[in-house]
Subunit: 208 residues, 2 copies
DNA sequence: GCCTGAGTTAAACAACTGTTTAAGTTGTGG
DNA sequence: CCACAACTTAAACAGTTGTTTAACTCAGGC
């Protein structure tokens, strides 16, 4: 984050309204298709406030992505740490990630859209995050799984697999809500259990 | 597709160049962040040719998405049909989908980004596709899995789960290629086998 | 009350956007 | 050769874009 981004002594309400409006609009229309005047209107601020608080439209995007990715990394570290066998740790991770995604649906959709993008202004943050996630998954999941269960899944397979599988419901929810109501319901413990079951079976059971 | 979209008696090379350039640029930068002049430059055509061939920029997007989604639906129908048990059919589907995604990496990334978008001009196609996929998965996978394996996974969970899990490697490849070289290598049979293994274990094995 | 910093605004700006239009070119068939 | 359809182009257009700037307002501290 640039040093010249303005932060008041008190947490600014306008700033938070911009963030909320940005998450909403960016997730539904995409970053580039959302104009700043539309965003400002929804946030009830003047269009210049985005530059004032975030330096630029892209600065706003970076902040949203950084916040989301670092939250995800933090929860992975918290849930995967410890000396227990991998299974309870993986259970904890799955439940925590699903809850995190549920609570940050818009940010998740935005992040998923931005992951494969190659914008030079943004890519470094993503690379830093990806490296840290890969390291965490390798140390905390891939190696213990290999040790305890004899399955060798490299981190560049396991990382994307976990994140995508756990994201799936949320990614498709906006379109599936037009087909059936269930996908938009808040994720419940039965669904968490079901997805946990599928993933634990898939990752920790013996050769098929 | 609008009737006034121009199709020549001979397959137009310019048209195909536009499609190729669009897939490339839309997948890397997103639809809205890709300007038509940039696209025309890469395709070596005049900017008016997009409207000439596709009616509009959005017409081009619709065509790319329709083509991708219908290909995916077709392969699902082909691989999942028949009276065999669900396991060999699911195996076939997984291998075919991974190959399809490998061969249409750019279109996949574009489609994944567009899935949660709510653009009124495009959403109907996605809904039609989603309904058809759900019906296919329900009939061909959910019900047989419940029958043969006693696992009840609703189509609105299974559909997104399969598609996302099989997409994962490709979604993260552009960013992970900066971390390690493997994610960008063409998908090999060992990786297909590994992902098949994980999914079959996860979906078809007994309660954990 | 004054000063200062933070927040806010309206206007301006240069650049870009997708689309349209009219003219021109090319290829094919009679 | 001519007619016609398909393809191609350059220019124009109205609208939109993100950013900048200067002026103003507000709040807090001295």
């Amino acid at each position: 984050m640039k040093e010249d981004v303005n932060l008041g002594k008190r947490e600014s309400e306008s700033r938070q309204r911009i963030i909320d409006a940005a998450l909403h609009l960016f997730s539904k229309k995409g970053f580039s298709a959302t104009g700043l005047r539309e965003l400002a209107r929804e946030a009830d601020v003047n269009v210049a406030m985005v530059s004032y608080f975030f330096g630029s439209k892209k600065g706003l995007l970076k902040e949203l992505l950084d916040h989301f990715f670092s939250g995800y990394l933090d929860l992975a570290r918290e849930t995967l740490s410890g000396d227990e066998p991998v299974e309870p740790r993986l259970r904890r991770f799955i439940a925590a990630a699903l809850t995190y995604f549920e609570n940050h649906r818009d940010a998740l959709l935005l992040a998923l859209a931005e992951i494969p993008r190659d914008d030079p202004d943004i890519i470094e943050h993503k690379i830093i995050w990806a490296k840290q996630m890969m390291a965490e998954f390798d140390q905390r999941l891939c190696q213990p799984i290999a040790h305890e269960h004899g399955r060798n899944i490299p981190p560049h397979i396991l990382g994307p697999l976990l994140t995508s599988t756990l994201s799936a419901r949320f990614l498709f929810a906006p379109i599936l809500q037009q087909v059936a109501p269930e996908p938009c319901a808040p994720i419940d413990s039965a669904t968490i259990e079901q997805l946990t079951d599928v993933l634990l079976h898939g990752l920790l059971r013996d050769e098929f």
